[in-house]
Amino acid sequence: MEDIRTIVVKELKEFWMARGSLRSRLLSFLPMVIVFGIYLPLQQREAWTEIPAVAGIWFTMLPLVLAGGTAADSFAGERERHTLETLLATRLSDRDIFLGKVLATVIYCVGIVWGCALVGLISLNVTRGPAPFFMYGAPVLALILVGSILVSLLMTAVGVLVSLRAASVRAAAQYFGFATLAIFIGLPLIVQALPDSAKAALDRAVLGANWTAVGLTVAAAILAIDALLLSIGIARFQRTRLILE
């Protein structure tokens, strides 16, 4: 665990230092804080803390945007900046390097999501007036706390897998972009292509669904995919292959 922590600390320092001066670093987070911590919560008010489809979905989607670029930088970036071979020539095990990089990206994404969620709550309560105290409802809280971790892990695992084989950060980001786009465009297209009877059945299922059960099922499915992708990543992370590529 100590070696994984060493990698995590280094990666987080690099994420932070990549943004130049302290002012630039703080400014780079400002748009996210304004949108997810101030604008959307104040616009949605109660819905923001109570309806999973509002804040929960936004906060689960945020890692989709954040994780890709960061994960794509993990190995392709080290290769591009000529630091990968030196890292591979240390005593660190393949597994520790891989997991350290994955964990750092997840911590970065989840940290931003949780930070924005907290700022949102503060914004709502500061401006609540005579209204009762705002607090996230259990389903929303679960989506923020658990959903962000699962989605961050999923997108990070995909990003790192792409990054392992990409020649440059730009190439890795492009591959990742294509993969994400395929999911976002592919899923609606599949639904569109369904026969009318199937679409009607799907509508009925959505309207009458037990959302707790659906949420748990989806979470379990994402967890299983996370585990699978991480296993593939660990298996594919081989010093010799990385050096040769």
Partner: protein, 313 residues
């Protein structure tokens, strides 16, 4: 640990049809500075990667610090330090953060880490710059910092892949002195790949010459120089007429004679004496003012080795 820090037995590595390292056998004594010489693409870096277990062997076997490269690569990396083709420093982080990261990798506790970083950076004249981002350091400083990183955990063996490449002459000399002094001070074995022959001659106890993946010579720089280098003797004076030059050229120990800026350059076989040739010139009517007896350089020896190998192929 064995007497040899590195021992290879016919190690081979192929990339498709290309044999990058071809049955290389060598022994590097513990505590010595070994120079691995060769032109670009000769197989130096591939050999280094094989010794670190970063590439797999296609044939032969090797031990580094007594550990087998095929089955105990992790142990080798635990006990060695490296400066590879690139300095490998994280540009966005400060020098101190870089060294601290590598110190953590080798499980140095916080106090020993900071003490060791200070010791190395003070020795290398970089202590005042420890909080500067690596990207703001000159290339020479970065190379020095990378050497500090390689030695941070007091490894028994360090691999330096062309450490002075791209440095100006002043920085290269300073770096060479640092490598020498640190290696001696810490009793570390150094495996240095280079195509800077002057560097190898000044720093290394033993050199190996590799060409097209094959080790073509191993020995102390002085031995290699004697084995293949030709001594150049410069003769200053007057009256170096055609007769005198012809007489010189007829001598079996004389390889070549040329006149440059009014003085003679005489290339002699290794070990040839100069006095009989001076007498001969005087007999032929030349007036000698000064004779400078030179030694063949390692560079000449290297060129001769490359030429001989080229002709042999």
């Amino acid at each position: 640990m064995t007497a040899y820090a590195i021992e290879t037995r016919e190690i081979t590595r192929n990339f498709g049809d290309l044999c990058a390292v071809d049955k290389v056998s060598l022994q590097v004594s513990a505590g010595s500075i070994f120079g691995f010489l060769g032109p670009n693409g000769a197989g130096k870096t591939t050999t280094l990667r094989l010794l670190l277990g970063l590439l797999e062997l296609n044939g032969g076997s090797a031990t580094v610090l007594g550990y087998d490269v095929a089955s105990q690569a992790a142990a080798i990396r635990e006990h060695t330090g490296v400066l590879l083709e690139h300095d490998g420093l994280y540009q966005r982080l400060s020098l101190n953060d870089n060294l601290d990261f590598f110190g953590r990798i080798y499980h140095l506790d916080a106090m020993s880490r900071q003490k060791r970083i200070r010791e190395l950076l003070e020795h290398l004249g970089l202590w005042e710059r420890r909080h500067v981002a690596v990207t703001a350091l000159s290339r020479g400083m970065r190379q020095k910092a990378a050497i500090a990183r390689a030695l941070l955990h007091r490894p028994s063996l360090v691999f330096l892949d062309e450490p002075s490449a791209g440095l100006d002459p002043v920085a290269a000399v300073a770096l060479r002195q640092d490598i020498q002094s640190l290696a001696r001070k810490e009793n570390t074995t150094v495996f240095l790949t280079t195509h800077n022959l002057a560097e190898a001659e000044k720093v290394c106890d033993l050199v190996g010459v590799i060409r097209q993946g094959r080790l073509i010579a191993v020995g102390a720089p002085a031995t290699l120089r004697l084995r293949t280098g030709k001594a150049i003797t410069e003769v200053y004076g007057r009256g170096f007429g055609e007769h005198a030059l012809a007489a010189l050229r007829s001598q079996p120990q004389v390889c070549s004679v040329s006149v440059q800026d009014g003085h003679l350059l005489v290339e002699l076989e290794t070990g040839a004496e100069t006095a009989p040739l001076v007498s001969l010139l005087v007999r032929e009517g030349a007036q000698i003012e000064e004779v400078r007896k030179g030694q063949g350089s390692l560079e000449e020896a290297f060129v001769a080795l490359m030429r001989d190998e080229g002709e042999g192929n």
